[in-house]
């Protein structure tokens, strides 16, 4: 027994000594950013790796001072940017631990990350406790700021309510007639919330429409034969889905030859990222959302043209939502860093200074204007757009009938819970 404790103690001491020695001190001329996103598992191909790629590319361009105006200063406030990449796999428990390691062991200055809603919800209070300036760049759940207030946590992208409110509005704008609709959404919070938001929005916009079926396949199910049969038996006018990534591609591939896309109009809230890989296999006439005005749906601007071309040149594929969302987070961070440094006399800003600079700020991104308008200046709203798939002259799938929505048309006003706003009939919505 005695020897046992000795072994345990010496092991602990050894680990302590090892890691204390290797912890590098942060330097003043570099800004160390911890980037957390999925590098393995089901979200790697669709979200994580493209976002990490987009981040690496944009940081390289920033460090070289090659981003167009107004982002043309070198690095962030003259500091070179260093990325520390972490895999988001493993669930919220692991992510809280890795977040602490990033802050306390790797001494990063800023954390930018999290695709998973559960990870965002778990990490936000820890960031607050550690007083660590943190940007949530992607996750969709509206609950992050609806159930808590944070000083150090920001989300630089709109939450997922926008995507489903926008879909319902898009159908109305296109003059689509809907008497019945059905849904196929993954059985976890994002899928359940998406379906709840969509049915609530439909109840307002199409009060006569009825739900024909609501299916909840497991996350990562991979086989959708039965679901396809159930959807086709129900014969709804509209099939709504917030599926994404490999699950969505499998659903499309399996349902397409069975005629689901002929029988019903399919509306997908977050599907732009499957268009480049699926290519000509993608059916026509499908309504596509991108969780923002990204890729095919992006508004014309010099910044967007530069970003689109730079990404395509580097990775030989067009940028989809994930790199756009990473880019808008990093651009917002750059604006905040430089604003903070203008205020503090040019030294590397603290978390408090960064938070003060980012709160309520606005900046241009390739996907349009980002406004930190909600949750006391911590939650972004942004314009969005939807389109319908169609084959161009060469047979490639592109989007047509693109309808843009102003940020305040599809996002709730500040301090209003998204679902309440929908159920009350969108009071104060500004649609032009």
């Amino acid at each position: 027994m005695k020897i046992a404790y000795k072994a345990l103690l010496s092991g602990l001491l050894g680990a302590t000594a090892l890691t204390c020695g290797s912890a590098a001190m942060a330097q003043d001329d570099t800004l160390k950013i911890g980037v957390v996103t999925f590098l393995s598992g089901q979200a790697a191909q669709s979200f994580g790796v493209p976002a990490a790629d987009g981040g690496k590319l944009l940081v390289a361009k920033m460090n070289a001072g090659e981003v167009p105006a107004p982002f043309d200063t070198v690095g962030m406030g003259g500091m070179q940017i260093e990325l520390v990449l972490i895999d988001e796999a493993g669930g919220a428990t692991v992510q809280v631990q890795e977040f602490r390691n990033l802050v306390q062991r790797e001494n990063v200055d800023v954390v930018v990350g999290y695709v998973g809603s559960g990870d965002c919800l778990a990490v936000a209070p820890v960031a607050e406790e550690l007083k660590q300036f943190t940007i949530l760049y992607d996750c969709g759940t509206p609950r992050v700021f609806e159930t808590a207030e944070y000083d150090y946590v920001f989300r630089t992208a709109a939450h997922a309510s926008m995507d489903n409110i926008g879909l319902a509005r898009y159908l109305k704008a296109q003059g689509t007639e809907v008497s019945t609709f059905a849904g196929i959404n993954q059985d976890y919070a994002f899928g359940q919330d998406s379906w709840a938001d969509f049915t609530a929005a439909m109840a307002q916009i199409y009060p006569e429409a009825e739900v024909a079926a609501a299916l909840f396949p497991a996350f990562g199910a991979g086989q959708y034969g039965t679901e396809t049969s159930a959807l086709m038996s129900a014969q709804p006018d509209i099939v709504h889905s917030s599926l994404w990534g490999g699950d969505l591609q499998a659903m499309v591939l399996q349902a397409l030859p069975r005629g689901l896309f002929q029988r019903s109009e399919v509306v997908l809230s977050a599907a732009d990222h499957i268009l480049p890989p699926l290519g000509k296999q993608m059916p026509e006439g499908v309504v596509i959302g991108a969780r923002g005005a990204y890729g095919f749906l992006a508004p014309e601007s010099d910044l967007n043209t530069w970003w689109f071309d730079a990404y395509e040149a580097e990775y030989d594929v067009m940028p989809v939502q994930a790199p756009y969302r990473m880019a808008q987070a990093l651009l917002g961070l750059k604006v905040a860093v430089e604003k903070a440094m203008a205020d503090n006399g040019g030294t590397k800003p603290t978390s408090e200074e960064l938070a003060a600079a980012m709160q309520g700020s606005t900046w241009d991104s390739p996907g349009g204007l980002i406004e930190m308008a909600n949750a006391n200046g911590h939650q972004a709203i942004q314009p969005t757009a939807f389109g319908k798939t169609v084959k161009d002259a060469e047979g490639n799938i592109v989007l047509e009938d693109i309808v843009r929505f102003d940020a305040r048309c599809v996002n709730p006003p500040t301090d209003v819970i998204a679902l309440d706003w929908i159920n009350e009939g969108f009071p104060g919505a500004q649609c032009d």
Partner: protein
């Protein structure tokens, strides 16, 4: 000195030494150590089962029940005292384990493992559906307090670490005493040969059920500690990968020792975390190699390094049939 006193004294000294060490640790390690200690407590439950020849692949269920019971108490009713939460978490999961125990105590080997796993996955599926407690995203809970004290920032981390170490030491001491007691030794005997144990008049069923309830309580304690440390609970606590991690740690620690699991837990956490930080694209490969290396070179776990005399390795071919 008699055995009981010896074990208690050693346990107390170790607890105090480890607590003192907490002050010297960098903060990130403090958190990792707290989490590892909590995992170690859960794995101690599996070690207890392993002594009776069983491995549960569903301890995530009791870990999850403990975390949800104490977490709901904290988040919904504002009870933040760490000691009350530990008692509630341990008793809550122990209660559920007591309900399940008669059901699973008949099972052996892979079927025991798979039945416990299936049960934990049913709980996972059910919790992911209940939106009132956060659905699949789970819920956050407030920082714990300690008998009226609410330490701030770093002090809170140290306090929780100390509570975790104290709980772990208490559990380890009690388990050691139980292992060396007559009922505990019957468990070890039934690992070797159940039929003989039955012929000697002992009930393997009762031994297994008792061990299962002990393991449930331990898992609930671990779940409560991690719920307090993380400030967040979600159904992933009951997912099979979580249970797999506990088994991993228990096998690494080995069934010979009640304390090796804690070292195994810390080493596993450090290997996973460092390979994740420095090789974000291939950490699974490294973790797999690490796991294989331990199984190949330390077939009876870390515990076998110092407890060789306590157990003898089974012969390569133990199939002795009647």
């Amino acid at each position: 000195m008699n055995n009981t006193l010896k074990v208690v004294v050693i346990g107390a000294i170790a607890a105090l030494a480890l607590m003192a060490l907490g002050f010297a640790m960098p903060r990130w390690l403090l958190f990792t150590a707290t989490k590892a200690v909590a995992f170690g407590i859960v794995a101690l439950g599996i070690v207890t089962l392993m002594r009776g020849g069983l491995v549960s692949f569903g301890q995530g269920m009791y870990y999850c029940v403990g975390a949800y019971a104490s977490g709901q108490l904290a988040a919904r009713y504002g009870v933040t005292d760490a000691f009350i939460l530990l008692i509630v978490g341990g008793l809550g999961s122990g209660l559920i384990a007591a309900v399940v125990a008669p059901l699973v105590a008949r099972y052996r080997g892979i079927f025991f493992a798979m039945l416990t796993m299936a049960l934990s996955m049913v709980l996972y599926g059910v919790l992911a559906k209940i939106n009132a407690i956060g659905g699949s995203d789970g819920f956050n809970l407030p920082k714990p307090t300690f008998a009226g004290f609410a330490p701030q920032d770093g002090a809170s981390d140290i306090a929780l670490y100390a509570v975790a170490v104290a709980t772990a030491s208490l559990c380890a001491v009690l388990c050691r005493l139980y292992y060396d007691s007559r009922p505990g030794l019957i468990a070890l005997a039934s690992r070797e040969n159940e039929l003989r144990v039955e012929y000697l008049g002992a009930s393997v069923f009762a031994v297994t059920a008792r061990n299962f309830i002990i393991a449930g309580v331990l898992a609930g304690l671990g779940g409560t500690i991690n719920a307090m440390a993380l400030g967040h609970v979600d159904p992933f606590f009951s997912y099979w990968t979580t249970s797999g991690e506990f088994v991993f740690i228990a096998i690494l620690g080995g069934y010979a020792s009640a304390i090796a699991v804690f070292g195994a837990a810390l080493i596993t956490e450090l290997v996973r975390s460092f390979s994740g930080s420095y090789f974000p694209d291939s950490w699974q490969l490294l973790l797999g190699i690490f796991l294989l290396a331990v199984i190949v070179f330390l077939p009876l776990g870390f515990g076998s390094l110092w407890a060789r005399r306590r157990v003898t390795p089974p012969p390569a071919d133990e199939e002795i049939r009647s």
